[in-house]
Symmetry: C4
Subunit: 195 residues, 4 copies
């Protein structure tokens, strides 16, 4: 029951975040084809952020699926994740409109790193709460993937001082790795006849 409302609220917030990003694609006044050209970096960032938010939704979905009960700490760890996700549209638009300039790219990486850290924290609290023998604990194991992702975002932020395009390439490559939903959890769910 309680879990249901956490899911519903998170779905609502993530659905809004993923959709309001498109409001940053300002409709050009000109009806010519070339009017779309300056929008290409913004469109690229929109696609990347859409995939990132989609990844968070997918993995959040999988992770909460294995949880039985939640408490106040989990509610706030979840709101913390939603807070950092809510800043994704801002850095997406800033990066796109400035054609991958240095500072926007650094902040893009910083927000991705905070999202990753918030997700790791939420996972840690859920695992801790559910006990050593729970399905979730077995499914999550040591969550190296999240930790390594955050490190790559930090590296990307540093590299942006030299070449922000390499940073963007790093952010894209992390997205590709995460694109595949968390096999550990999926396997657990498939082995779980309640599914």
């Amino acid at each position: 029951m309680k879990k249901g409302r956490l899911e519903a609220f998170s779905d609502g917030v993530i659905a809004i975040i993923i959709t309001i990003m498109v409001l940053e694609l300002k409709v050009p006044h000109s009806a010519e084809l070339h009017a779309l050209v300056p929008m290409l970096p913004t469109l690229f960032c929109y696609v990347l952020s859409f995939i990132y938010v989609g990844i968070y939704w997918n993995n959040h979905h999988h992770m909460i699926y294995l949880v039985d009960k939640i408490d106040g700490k989990v509610l706030w760890a979840n709101l913390n994740l939603l807070f950092w996700l809510s800043l994704v549209p801002f850095v997406t638009a800033w990066t796109g409109e400035n054609h991958f300039a240095q500072w926007p790219v650094i902040f893009y990486g910083a927000i991705l790193a905070m999202c990753g850290a918030a997700y790791t924290l939420l996972g840690y609290l859920l695992v801790k709460r559910s006990g050593k023998n729970s399905l979730l604990t077995q499914a999550m194991g040591h969550d190296w993937k999240s930790v390594v992702s955050v490190v790559i975002y930090l590296v990307g932020m540093a590299i942006a001082f030299y070449n922000p395009l390499i940073s963007m390439a790093l952010y894209v490559s992390v997205a590709i790795v995460w694109f595949i939903p968390d096999k550990r959890i999926e396997r657990q769910i498939l082995g779980d006849e309640a599914c």
Copy 2:
């Protein structure tokens, strides 16, 4: 369970898409009746896109209804559909504000075609996953309607180089055909006493 969250998230995103389109109806500064006249093409496009998004919601609703389980591929095929739907407000506003100019109309058709292709792909994956004897497979049959729609969008895009109004008429006629919910599935549901 898992299906429930997919439905909830899709409902959320589609509800936001269908509603934020109205934000493109910029409130005129003048209080005179003629201030609404230049908005008529935008209003027309809003109505058409509202019907299109409504059609997708209805058919999505019917299709997912017959599905038992979903997996990671389906989640991403669904996000792919939501991505293309999220661009509908953009092309709607661009087409409306430029009074059915050539390039906006071509892109309107392109986004409709991508939505149609994404829906067809989602349906294909769901049918493939659910097996030959499932209700869904029997209900969907060969999904000619979706394929023909995409072909008409492509024809509409080509015709826009000569006369974009004919393209719009084609898009409207596809909407009219789809307006009727998927009888194949509805029949299946009605024959299904769980309904």
Copy 3:
């Protein structure tokens, strides 16, 4: 099941409509108290529209509660209602920004009338579908209240040619009458132990 998604989608759209109206309260640049004065008509219209949309949500909630099954026609009658509700933020902002000028007030009434007509149509289809002895049919009876409301909106639109403030007073008085949730249905629900 099917009803559940109709409710969820309607809740989503109505929640967005009721909330995006507040985006029309443009934040004034000045930090002085008098900067809020020109916003008072917009704020008044926001409150009125918030109550109207709240009334529709409440009554929609009550009406769907008594329904067992829905079909394609009901889905579209429901989308029709959501379409007209989605135009409420537009006429709210237009009326507020123009301080109750004639044409905005006329269109405010027109949109309220269309919402009322769409709600009546939805109720009619649901009653027709559920049969003469259903709880809903007994609860709804002859839906004079909706019909009379639409007539008052039409009268309000006509009076706006003479004095739009009288029209606004009429719209406010209809809201007051509807403010009380549909006793007929509430009584039915209270008598229904499933509640």
Copy 4:
């Protein structure tokens, strides 16, 4: 059932409120770091309001959890709370953009006070309806915390005439106190095996 839709609608509205606030973080045109400096007060207000709305969602979640049935009065008391919450993005942006000027800070406090009063009223109606021996009544006790919060907001509003920063500090301190979810209710839920 009825409670489910109240929760879903409230979740939807609160999710939208908490997310559209981020739209007030206008993307700067410059790509330089110092372009973010004038946004810091807005960002600070965004964080504070995000926490406030999160607190309301958490406590709303807990309170409704213990409720069995709702009626028309509760629906409207809930809409009243949502109305005042919907004005939070407006005062957040006004306060942030004017760097904690006197009048915006006073209105920020006024909206917080109205939210607090609306929440207290909703709790009062729910307790009254559920009877003296209900879990909710035992859990809520005398809701001093809400009352004291409203008093502090009023004090903050008065102090803003001398120094608005002290007012902001008061608003922050109330948020800190509420940050911890309502232990009274949480305890009740933990003792309730239905949880």
